[in-house]
Every structure is written in C-alpha cells, then in structure tokens.
C-alpha cells in the first residue's frame, strides 16, 4: 500500500503540446497522474480537456493532421506513450476510455463486453463468460442485465448503457481509465450510480475524468486540474483547489459555477 501522502506516479505529461493542424489546442502541459487516484479535469468549454484526455490513448491518431509534441510518460515501464515507436494499439489495449455519450455497439450486451477480449484473440467461451460477468459486476450493472445478456445493448436505458460502456472498458483490465464527461447525458439518478462506481473503481485503477460539473469534481476526485485556453492553470489536491485555489482564474471559475 501507498503511504497516503506520497502517491506513486502512473503517468506524467511533460511539456505536452498538441496541434489540430494549425490550431494549438494544448500548450506545454506538465502534469502528474497518480496511481489509483481519481484526477478530475475541469475548465470552460473548449479549453482542451477532451483533447488532453484523448492524447493518452492516442485517439488523435485516428484523424489526419493532428500532431503531438512533448511526452506522456507511462509508468511503471516509463515509456513515452506518444513516441513514434510506440504502437497506439498497444497503448489503447492498456488504457480504457468511456465517452460523453454512451456508445454501445449495436450488438448484444454480452458481445459488447466481450469485444475487447475478442479483439485480443480470446475466443474461449468459458474465459469470456467469466470475464464478462466480472466486468459487468465491476460496473455495477450485473444484477440488472444478468438475465438478458443476449439482448441488444442499445435497448438499455441511457444510464445502463453508460455503465455497460464502463464494463466494456473494465473487461480488459486497463491500467488507466479515461472518462470524458461520462454523466453529462444522464439524469441525476444514473449520474449518482456512476459516481459511486468511480469511487469503487479507484481501489483498482487509476482514473482521469473530465467534468463540467464542479460538484461532481469535488465529490469524486482526489486531484483536480483546472485548464484554461489550452493551458494547465492549476493542479492540486481537490480539497485544496476547491478551498483555496492559488490562481485567480481558477477561483473565478469555481466560485462562479458553484451555485
């Protein structure tokens, strides 16, 4: 176990710049991500939260014209996720991601969760069954769907879909989970369930979560990063950020939004 105040690093952005073609969307970001902690990213719309998050699993590689500069060090192996020698597919295999809008595949619930394993070449149905159950339990949705694993996933309610997407990400035992505003499309009850889940999950994995909702950030995260116009303005323990932000801009944003 870690001693509470000196957490180990799971990842670290070093001098990270990112360009959408000509547009510089991230500006010299330096930021640690601590192992088995929840780090929240907050900031006004368009400040680069999603862009930053999607740099970790090289999502930007899917589109032409995007360019990284700097490094994202990943531990314990201490390699740079952005290095050209690193295979983005291997990166994505070690990271999980949950999107703003639940995006289940139009397949059965079972196949949605098993997908990541199948992609890895796992076809043994015993193993798959086990892993699927485990992931669905981990995402706190097992009881709701255990009798209808062969139903189509898009027939689930929004909140269920989002938990299914989390299960899909969990099934492959990721080391770092990326959440991009996972609750913004959900109603308060579903939101509560997912916040609960994040709380559970951090016992096992490291989590990086983008949110617009200050309360949510305050409730679920251990660390908070405030971004503004592509820059990281402030990073620190959530309590400290919310109670006595160092930067005027952070303070304005937080207080302006708290209600």
């Amino acid at each position: 176990m870690q001693i509470h105040d000196t957490p180990t690093l799971k990842a670290e952005a070093r001098n990270l710049n990112f360009y959408y073609g000509e547009v510089k969307a991230l500006k010299s970001i330096n930021m640690p991500i601590y192992d088995k902690k929840v780090t929240a990213l907050i900031g006004p719309s368009g400040c680069g939260k999603s862009t930053y998050l999607r740099s970790f699993n090289r999502m930007h590689d899917l589109y032409p014209g995007n360019r990284y500069e700097g490094e994202i060090r990943f531990y314990p192996d201490n390699t740079n996720l952005l290095s050209p020698e690193v295979d983005p597919i291997e990166v994505r295999m070690r990271l999980g991601m949950v999107f703003q809008k639940p995006n289940p595949f139009p397949k059965t619930i079972y196949e949605n969760v098993a997908y990541g394993l199948r992609v890895r070449g796992e076809n043994n149905s015993r193993v798959l069954d086990d892993k699927v159950e485990q992931a669905l339990r981990g995402a706190a949705i097992w009881d709701e769907v255990k009798d209808r694993l062969q139903e189509m996933a898009p027939n689930l309610s929004g909140g269920q879909q989002q938990r299914l997407c989390i299960a899909r990400a969990l099934a492959t035992d990721p080391e770092l989970l990326l959440f991009d505003e996972p609750t913004s499309a959900l109603d308060p009850i579903a939101t509560g369930a997912i916040e609960e889940l994040v709380h559970e999950l951090k016992k096992r994995v490291t989590i990086l979560i983008v949110t617009h909702n200050m309360q949510q950030a305050a409730r679920v995260s251990d660390y908070t990063a405030y971004m503004y116009l592509g820059e990281l303005i402030e990073f620190g323990k959530t309590d400290e950020i919310f109670i006595k932000p160092q930067d005027k801009r952070t303070e304005d944003y937080i207080t302006g939004r708290m209600g």
Partner: protein, 310 residues
C-alpha cells in the same frame, strides 16, 4: 409591425394550408402518374405476352418460329452474368468504399480516386461497352463470354456500390469507431466487427439498385458483341461433355451466352410481328426477376436494420 390579430393569423394559415393541399394534389398526381406508367408498361407486357406464359417458354431455346421460341438460354445467362457481376462488384465496391472512408489519408492519390469514382458513375454505359471490347474481349482474351459480360457490368455498377457503401459508412457515428479503437482494436478489426456489418443495409440498397440496372442493360453487352443466337446452356460444373471428359468447375464463365435484354432486343427487331409477343413476355419475366431481387434485398435490409440503432 403590430402583433397579428387572430383573423390575420387565420388568413395566413388558410393560405398556407391551401398551398399544402395544392402541393399534396400535385404530389399525388406526379406519384400516381409515375406509378401508372410502370403499371401500364408492366400490364401491357403481361397482356401482350400472356399467350406465351407456358412452361415451354421458360424451357425452350430461341427459335426462328415465334411460338416455339423460349428464353431458357436468356434467363440462365442473365442469372449467371448477374452472379459474376455481383461476385466481382460487391467485394470490390465494398473494399473500395471501405478504403476511401476508413483508411485513405487525405492526399492526392485519394483525391484522384474520389473524383474518379464520381465521374465513373456518370460515364454512359455504352462507353463501358467500348472499354470492355478492348480490354476484356481482346486484351485479356475472354472473348464474348459470361466472364466478359459480368465484368463489364461489374465495372458499370462499381461506382454505384462504392457510393452507396461510402454513404452507409458515413452514417455510422464516429463514436462507434472510437469506441472500438479505444479498447485496442485495429482498423481492420473495427471494420470487420463494426463498420461492415452496420453498413450492410445501406450497401444492400446500392447492390440492388446496381444489379437492377445491370440486369436491364443492353448497350454495353451488345457492344462487346454478345447479340447472339445461342441454343445451349453453359456447361454445368462436372457434367459430362459430349466430346468426352467432364466440365471444370468454372468452365461456364468462359461460355458464350445471351441475356434477357439482348433476347428482347433481338425479338423487337425481327421482321415477324409475332415476336413482339415474345418480347413482351420476356420483358415481363425480366420485371419479375428485378422485382424479386428487390424484394429479397428489401427484406434483408429490413431484417438487418431492425438490429442496428445508435
């Protein structure tokens, strides 16, 4: 402007509704007119050709005597040519569409391919005939075979299938793709598990429009020189051949052939008016072939679509 009074509003609405109704009438008229033309054309062929609808008509070869002439070689030929066309055009078209939507990087090569595909969709079918005559018939030495015709029509409908595939793929939300890639799937795995299955209903529409066009196409097949009297069928794989030995699995693709629209064309240009009856009957059979192809596709599309939503 003062707020409108209720009367004024009602007057505006009445005017709008009148236009609605007028348009509705015009729309119904146009639709009915178009449908009427089809129904009339089909009914006309049915009535004119009615006396030929006997089993013999389907089982006889062409003949100089109208009453004995049948469409055996023509419908078999049409089916086989469509088989070759579909086998060539569908994989090629889907692969090309997949490449352009999922793989292609924006560079001059893809730009050329893109402009090309849209242009090809507009090339008149007869020009394909000229191409096929030079390339398939002579350069590749396929002669006037089922293979030549099938490939010609495949090229003809390839752009239609590519365009349909691309439109279908474009309709798949990016988040599905991202969802798949995010768990570590490769591009091909994403295509294989997601893109192709979800695009299938749309692809099918393209295939059907394409094949319906191909099955009725005359000009390019005439141009490759397939306006021919044929009173035999292509060899069935492994069947005995009169000269001894047995046919190979793919011998039929090199066989001479005729197809329905050619047979119809041939009959309409006969001196003896009795052949008009044959032409009408064959035209009706062709319609039924197109219709059943459509029906199969619409059913498949419906079944697939039911399971796909996001």
């Amino acid at each position: 402007m003062k707020p409108l009074t209720t009367e004024q509003i009602r007057a505006v609405i009445a005017k709008g509704k009148f236009r609605d109704n007028l348009f509705k009438a015009i729309g119904v008229f146009c639709l009915a007119f178009a449908l009427l033309v089809i129904v009339a054309l089909i009914a006309d062929m049915l009535l004119k050709g009615a006396e030929r609808f006997t089993l013999d008509f389907f089982l006889n070869f062409a003949s100089r005597r109208a009453t004995q002439a049948g469409i055996l070689s023509a419908w078999v030929g049409s089916l086989l040519v469509m088989l070759v066309t579909a086998l060539a055009a569908v994989p090629l078209g889907v692969a090309a569409g997949l490449y352009l939507e999922e793989y292609a990087k924006r560079n001059w090569i893809t730009n050329i391919i893109e402009i090309n595909v849209t242009n090809l969709a507009a090339v008149p079918s007869i020009v394909y005939g000229l191409l096929a005559l030079g390339i398939f018939v002579y350069m590749f030495g396929f002669g006037q075979s089922i293979l030549s015709a099938g490939l010609t029509l495949a090229l003809l409908i390839l752009p239609i299938i590519i365009v349909a595939t691309r439109e279908a793929i474009r309709a798949i939300p990016a988040m599905i793709r991202e969802g798949s890639m995010a768990v570590g799937a490769t591009r091909w795995q994403t295509c294989h598990y997601h893109i192709i299955p979800y695009a299938m209903p749309g692809i099918l529409t393209g295939v059907i429009i394409g094949l319906a066009r191909a099955i009725g196409e005359t000009a390019p097949i005439i141009t490759i020189g397939a306006l021919t009297f044929i009173a035999f069928l292509p060899p069935v794989p492994f069947s005995e051949i009169d000269g001894g030995g047995s046919a190979g699995l793919f011998d039929w693709v090199m066989s001479p052939f005729t197809v329905m629209p050619i047979q119809i064309f041939n009959w309409t240009s006969r001196p003896d008016p009795a052949f008009e009856v044959n032409a009408a009957a064959a035209g009706f059979v062709l319609m039924v072939m197109v219709l059943s192809m459509n029906a199969v596709a619409i059913y498949l599309r419906y079944k697939m679509r039911k399971n796909i939503k996001w």
